[in-house]
Amino acid sequence: MTLSLLLAFTRQDFVDRYSGSAFGALWAFIHPLVMIFIFTVIFANVMGARLPGVSSVYSYSIYLVAGLLPWLAFANTLTRSASVFLDKRHIISKVHIGLPYLPIYIVLSETLTFLISLAIFMVFLLLSGTVPGKTLLLVPFIFLSQQILAFALGLLLGILNVFLRDIKEMVTVLLTFWFWLTPIVWVPSIAPQWVQYLQDYFNPAYQFIHAYQAIFAYGQLPDFAGLTRLVILAHVVLLGAWLLFKALEKDIRDFI
C-alpha cells in the first residue's frame, strides 16, 4: 500500500461519513462547535463551575474540552481500529494489502477530525482571551504519542477481533469505564492520594489528557516524566502488536 492509497482511503473515509447529508463535511465543524457551545453555556454560565486556582470564568469548560477532544480522537481510533479488518474484509479478500496499514488510515481520519475540532477550540480560546503560550508547541508531540498508543492498541485488538468477535463490544464497554476513570470530567485533586498515584503510573490516558489540560486550562508545562512513560509504553505495545501480527498474519487472512 502506497502513501497515495493511504490518503485516498482517509479521504474516502471522511467522505463516506458525511455522504448523503445536506451539510456534508460541514458536520465535522458543527459537532465540535455545538459541543464547545453547550459546555460553555451549561458549565460556565448556568452552573457557574470554576477550576480551583484558575480565575477565568470559562476555566472548567476549557478543562473539559481540552480533555474531551483528545479522548474522542483516541477512543474513536481505538474502537474503529478494533473492527477494521472485519469491516474491510471485502477489500482484504480481493486485494493483497498490508493489514497494519488499515488502522493507519483510521488514525489519519481521526487526526483530521481532531484538527478541525482543535481549530474551533482555538477560536473559542482566542475569543475568551485564554490562549496558551509557547507550550502549544508541545501539542503535536503529545497527540503523536497518544495516537501511536491508539494505533498499537487498535492493531492488537483488531487482530484479536478477527478470532473473537466479542472484542469489539468489549472495547466499547471498557472505553466507557476508562473514560470515567480518567480525570476528564472530574479534577484529580478531588480524588484520594492513592487514586492519583494509580492514575500517574497505571493510566496511560491520564498522561496525555493531563498534558492537554495543563497546557490549555492551567497554562502550565505538562509532566514530562509522565509523557516519557507514555511514549515508552506506546512503543512497547506497538512492538507487541507488531510481533503478534507477524505471528498470526497468515491465520488472519485465512479467517477473513
Binding site: K134, F141, L144, F224, L227, T228, V231, H235, W242, K246
Partner: protein, 58 residues
C-alpha cells in the same frame, strides 16, 4: 526559544534522514522494528529536550 526550535528542527531532520536510510534497506521485518525504536527515541528526546529548555528558562 529560538535555540529550542532550531534543535527540534535538527532532531526532526535527523530522524527523517534515518527513516529514509532505513527504508532504502531491504528486509521489511527488521526495518519496522528499527522504525519503532527510532520513533520511540525521537519522542523521548523531544520531551526530554522540552523539559531541559523549560527548566533552563525558569
Amino acid at each position: 526559544m529560538i535555540l529550542y526550535l532550531v534543535v527540534l528542527t535538527l532532531l526532526s531532520l535527523l530522524l527523517l534522514g534515518l527513516v529514509r536510510l532505513v527504508l532504502r534497506r531491504p528486509g521489511s521485518h527488521h526495518n519496522t522494528l528499527i522504525l519503532i525504536g527510532l520513533s520511540c527515541l525521537y519522542l523521548v528526546l523531544v520531551f526530554q529536550l522540552s523539559h531541559f529548555f523549560a527548566a533552563s528558562l525558569q
